[in-house]
Symmetry: C2
Subunit: 338 residues, 2 copies
């Protein structure tokens, strides 16, 4: 079978390897599709070499079909359609003790800290496997993982129907958050500097603001009768995004920190005090977020066709990564692995 | 009767004035004691002139005795011992609409935006009045307001008995938060740079850390078996305090922003994301915090004697403020107004 190994700065080696057999407690999955995550792109650009090395199969936004079961796995059937929640917790740290295994102090992320899904067969621990409906296109199944991120972010916000939401940043995760929040009955506004992404957001029925042209905080206060956004998702990872989050949010509003801020931004702590604002960090997902994402996609709540920008073969994986690097307006590229 | 007017940079004028009569819906209170708040000290030092002007009676941490009732007030008796929750909300803004009147967009703070309690008789709206037990010393009653701040901060944190708490900053509010958290069954550690305040904290039974000598974040992780503080109260208003809050807190831990940060500090947003930390702004109090504070003081849960550094007459108000300015180790100075 084929496997795509990241082998250093912007290179993949497509290798022919022996299909792996599942170890005890593992499930072997024939990978159907695997999406390219922002993390994969970072890896491809050489930003994560210290963590992943130079002979690593990356990829984790996948769908597939159960091909074999390891010893002790007796609650699955061959041929079932599945997706993988790519987290392996230590089970022993204080976060695991408290039941927060998804933010385990020693968390292994499958496809980053272990080999991942840009290969034709992937063996994973049984506890990471979620079934998806047989009649759900496997292309759409590959979107479960990023949609689960969005479901987790929205769940962390305690969003209620009818609330005013601002999403700062309209990349794939920001757009999925907007979709999940919209499905939850929120009035969603998306702030983004790219005109193409703004057009995409409009085509999905969202209100939009371009911070190059508009004071987003003032606009949110105006459009909500002086209240501000009940919930703000900061997905931009920028200082202006962090400025906007406190400017746009309502008294007692909730801000969800989705973005990865490599630098420490300046934050308006006075506003947090003055208006009793709440900030909630949100990372990856828990099992119920995967269940929610599967349900949401299965009922047609996510416009999967619009999110999938293109589908390429595993042999063409480099071209998919290069296209994403040069086309930041793209949403989600899938790699067909089967 | 006498009233102390702030009349500009570090000056008070003690004036003889006609005792005020309560308007409709108001209660006239003969002020017994009024504590000096950090806000009063800011006013005294001329930092709030634009807001308060140059002929303002400040003060709000008071206790007193009901002297007269305005028209329409039929649920109080003359002679009752009371304290005042010095907030007057507009009742019409989005925060009031949502029930958060204490963070009203147009909030008037009595004793800042209106005349306050450094006088012998104070007329206030009925809705601001809380009864205190007759057998509670009125000196202790003057601590209800700052203790209510601490009760609000602790309530915002959703603190549970047995949790590990770090209080960053050991001034009067930090010390009261430590006391309220301790009464709630928390394991309290207080971080402070002043040796005198550290000694005071130790005398109250708290564990202490001096950030000049110890890496507070590492120390909190060590003393909690690698977990970190479940709840951190940032009361220092400093960049090092903001650094420590994210270093010391546990995964899914709660940080309560109590301090007023005039500058925007740099905040480790990555840590918020990575460990799903929560930040909760907390400002003043709600009615139930006053009720909680009265109950806590009445049952002896706050060491009021230790908190009260000194008591001076209204005529000596300037000396009290000057003493606080030169003695930052002082906790609470009371002015005897009766």
């Amino acid at each position: 079978m084929k496997a795509a190994y990241y082998t250093g700065d912007r290179t993949f080696a497509i290798e022919s390897v022996q299909p792996p057999a599942p170890g005890p407690g593992e499930v072997a999955v024939d990978v159907a599709y695997c999406g390219v995550c922002g993390t994969d792109l970072h890896a491809y650009l050489g930003h994560m070499d210290a963590r992943i090395g130079f002979h690593r199969i990356i990829g984790h936004e996948m769908s597939g079909v159960v091909q074999a079961l390891g010893d002790g796995v007796d609650d699955m059937e061959l041929g079932e359609h599945v997706v993988i929640r790519p987290l392996d917790a230590c089970g022993e740290c204080p976060a695991c003790d408290a039941g927060h295994t998804h933010i385990c102090h020693n968390l292994k992320f499958l496809g980053v800290d272990t080999d991942g899904a840009f290969q034709q067969r992937w063996c994973v621990p049984r506890h990471t496997v979620h079934r998806i409906p047989e009649d759900l296109p496997l292309e759409f199944g590959a979107l479960v993982e990023p949609v689960a991120v969005a479901c987790h972010d929205v769940r962390r916000s305690r969003l209620a129907a009818g609330e005013d939401v601002l999403v700062i940043g309209g990349g794939p995760i920001g757009m999925l958050i907007a979709m999940v929040a919209g499905q939850a009955g929120a009035n969603v506004t998306l702030s983004e500097v790219s005109e193409q992404r703004l057009e995409f957001a409009k085509s999905q029925g969202f209100q939009t603001l371009n911070p190059k042209e508009t004071d987003v905080g003032a606009a949110m206060y105006e459009k909500t009768g002086g209240k501000g956004a009940d919930v703000v998702f900061e997905v931009s990872g920028t200082q202006p995004g962090v400025d906007t989050m406190t400017e746009a949010v309502s008294a007692r509003g909730r801000i969800v920190m989705v973005a990865i801020h490599a630098e420490k931004p300046q934050v308006d702590m006075f506003k947090f005090f003055w208006r009793e604002i709440e900030l909630l960090g949100a990372r990856v997902y828990e099992a119920e977020d995967f269940d929610d994402a599967i349900d949401l996609i299965a009922k047609g709540g996510i416009d999967c066709k619009a999110i999938i920008t293109d589908v390429r073969d595993l042999d063409d994986i480099k071209s998919a990564f290069d296209a994403l690097t040069t086309n930041p307006q793209a949403m989600k590229s899938l790699i067909k692995c089967s």
